[in-house]
């Protein structure tokens, strides 16, 4: 089978510890270890350029279709059955029949190469992560493997799009769960990027926002001022937890403050989004082509675990995903019990057979996360795992493109020499 990547070329083993430290201090990669597993891989995915073209074309179409579908769903109030909490549905229903815009949208589509070609497992359309890896770590790896280039820079693309929308320098509230260093690292990285471009980033918790006719205002002990933009890295389904008087529903509608992303993104973030396609006027040909068949477990027999993957409607990072053989028997039993009790919170998706990337360190199953910023492809980062389930135990890796002969340093030869395939 023709695979979409070149023969793998790793970062030299001797160079990797230094690269890891650079990732920590230059790209704010503060979670380089999870359990016994290092989260940074020295094996980048070296995509063939024509495959990258294919992925970017698809990602842009997927983004356009998703936004169009979201608008129709919100306009028509078709919110039942996609696994959203009732408070969220109520907040979105307030927008029904109204025109609303979304000036700044970022998404990340997770592609997998399978025995049936490329497929997507999901879109991260609410709070896509991976900026540190796509814009930062990828650049560091690229320096170690001459003859390659990064696939894009989503952090820079986000800043550019923000400047285009705002018409200049802005005050940006970076809203996140402040206690969680994994989120903080993303916000700190983006804050540095924004600051370097002359913007004023402010790191805030979601309860530090106050909403009025003028838009959002940040108010806390270190900042009191209006915000031109809110970059939200706080999952939308957590917003009701802010409480009755926090005006959390303001995260759902565009205001004078640009929201990225507006919390209505939860509509396409839900894994049950495909269950509405049958009643939509919006055509979704790219979604139908690339997303495996997705069904409501309440209306089918999902117990054939050789055929179906079970996914929580609002699951993230692969957590809670049930793939037989990839999780413990105990976890599998727990998932099946919850699907039986609460099928409305789950989907069953047809299992695809991932084609791994073969390396001397063993086969790695690959997920290529392609970013779009306002519908334009903006870069990618990869995740690799020794099993088909890409979850929090997977390692992050660079997605690079070849640019001439791919070369790597050989300690044996004492020089760079060419490996892998030429373009």
């Amino acid at each position: 089978m023709n695979v979409p990547w070149f023969a793998p070329v790793p970062v030299a083993r001797e160079a990797f510890p230094r690269l890891r430290r650079r990732a920590i201090f230059e790209t704010c990669k503060w979670d380089p270890q999870v359990g016994d597993v290092g989260t940074l891989s020295r094996w980048p995915v070296l995509l063939r350029p024509e495959e990258w073209e294919r992925l970017t074309t698809w990602a842009e179409r997927l983004a356009a279709e998703a936004v169009a579908a979201e608008r129709e769903i919100v306009r028509r109030g078709l919110l039942d059955g996609i696994g959203l909490p009732w408070r969220i549905r109520r907040a979105i229903r307030r927008l029904s029949g109204r025109e609303w815009s979304s000036r700044l949208r970022i998404m990340r589509f997770d592609f997998h190469f399978t025995t049936d070609g490329w497929r997507i497992s999901e879109v991260n359309s609410d709070v896509p992560g991976g900026f540190n890896e796509a814009s930062g770590f990828s650049r560091l790896v690229c320096e170690e493997i001459p003859g390659t280039r990064i696939a894009g820079d989503p952090a820079a693309a986000l800043c550019q799009a923000l400047e285009h929308v705002a018409g200049g320098k802005t005050t940006v509230g970076l809203v996140h769960a402040t206690a969680f260093s994994d989120d903080r690292q993303v916000m700190t990285f983006l804050a540095r990027e924004l600051e370097a471009r002359g913007h004023c980033p402010v790191l805030l918790a979601p309860n530090h926002l106050h909403w009025g006719l003028e838009g959002a205002r940040g108010r806390c002990e270190w900042f009191d001022g209006s915000l031109d933009c809110v970059l939200r890295f706080f999952p939308a389904e957590w917003l009701p937890g802010l409480g009755l008087f926090s005006n959390w529903h303001c995260y759902f509608a565009e205001s004078r403050t640009t929201l990225c992303n507006p919390a209505t993104a939860l509509v396409s973030q839900s894994k049950r989004f495909p269950l509405l396609w049958g009643v939509l006027d919006t055509p979704l040909p790219t979604w139908r082509k690339l997303l495996p068949h997705t069904l409501d477990p309440a209306h089918m027999d999902w117990r054939d675990n050789t055929r179906w993957v079970l996914k929580p409607a609002l699951g993230r990072v692969g957590d809670g995903v049930g793939i037989s053989g990839c999780i413990s028997e105990r976890d599998w039993k727990s998932i099946r019990a919850d699907v039986t009790r609460h099928p409305e919170h789950w989907i069953a998706q047809e299992l695809f057979q991932s084609v791994p990337m073969e390396t001397p360190d063993g086969p790695f199953h690959v997920c290529v996360g392609v970013f779009t910023v306002n519908g334009r492809a903006a870069g990618a980062y990869g995740r690799v795992a020794g099993q088909p389930l890409i979850d929090h135990r997977a390692a992050d890796t660079a997605v690079l493109l070849g640019d001439g002969g791919i070369r790597t340093y050989s300690p044996t030869l004492g020089e760079h020499h060419e490996l892998g395939c030429h373009l």
Partner: protein, 255 residues
């Protein structure tokens, strides 16, 4: 020393345990003037197991005390593994943080030059450093504050298998006097104990050392434990782990 060098001092490349060192406390860390190491800081406490005993130590004590105690154990042949995961507060207003992490950061910077001169073997047993105030903070968690409290998860530590493979047979948890095992830490210890590691606790003053049977915590081994922790927000702690931290003083206890 810059941040990178300070980190390297506490997480030397050759150590088996360095990979688990949390980078957060070292981010944007500036060198402080090298301070004199006090005699107390240089002496390991009487309860310190010999490095050959195959015991991993967890120091779950307040703030910078853990750093100086860790340094003392490092001089006795242990490898420190700082697990401080509380982010620093706003640069313009450090006092706005619910958990004051600056003393820990300063201590890490202060001891770094001495740490870098120790030459413990790569397989020296680990001493994990935690801040026992991580769940409660050092200040009020009022609205407007920067909530940087944090919790530990099992995946912040090596697995029991890894510990066994590197000669560790038991764990000694050092607590403040009158302290108790923190709820988040019991998730870690229970897993280790179920895998066959012995668990012992001792207060820093060395009294009442005891073998313990770690109680089974709530949501133990739940597939979604990590997600549930992160999702357990309360109105007064929207940036933090509301389900595991006390309510404001008027209600007390864990929510």
């Amino acid at each position: 020393m810059n941040s990178d060098a300070i980190y390297e001092a506490w997480a030397p490349a050759g150590s088996v345990w360095s990979a688990w060192t949390k980078p957060v406390a070292f981010a944007d860390l500036r060198a402080v003037s090298e301070r004199d190491v006090s005699p107390e800081a240089a002496q390991p406490p009487a309860w310190t197991p010999p490095p050959s005993a195959g015991i991993a130590v967890i120091l779950d004590v307040p703030g910078a005390h853990g750093v100086s105690l860790g340094f003392a154990l490092a001089k006795a042949g242990y490898q420190c593994v700082p697990l401080y995961n509380g982010v620093a507060g706003p640069v313009t207003s450090a006092a706005a943080a619910v958990l004051d992490v600056e003393p820990v950061r300063q201590a890490l910077a202060s001891f770094a030059p001495e740490m870098s001169r120790l030459a413990n073997p790569p397989a020296a047993p680990p001493v994990f450093l935690l801040d026992s105030r991580r769940l409660t903070g050092t200040g009020s968690a009022n609205p407007g504050k920067f909530d940087n409290r944090w919790v530990v998860f099992p995946q912040d530590f090596p697995s029991a298998n890894f510990l066994f493979a590197h000669g560790i047979r038991g764990v000694l948890v050092v607590l403040p006097p009158e302290g108790a095992l923190a709820d988040d830490l019991t998730h870690v210890l229970r897993r280790w104990q179920e895998s066959g590691l012995s668990i012992r606790t001792v207060p820093t003053d060395g009294t009442r050392a005891a073998d313990v049977q770690v109680p089974k915590p709530g949501r133990f081994r739940s597939l979604l434990y990590r997600a549930l922790v992160l999702a357990g927000f309360r109105r007064n702690s929207a940036g933090g782990f509301g389900s595991l931290v006390p309510e404001p003083p008027q209600s007390g206890g864990y929510g």
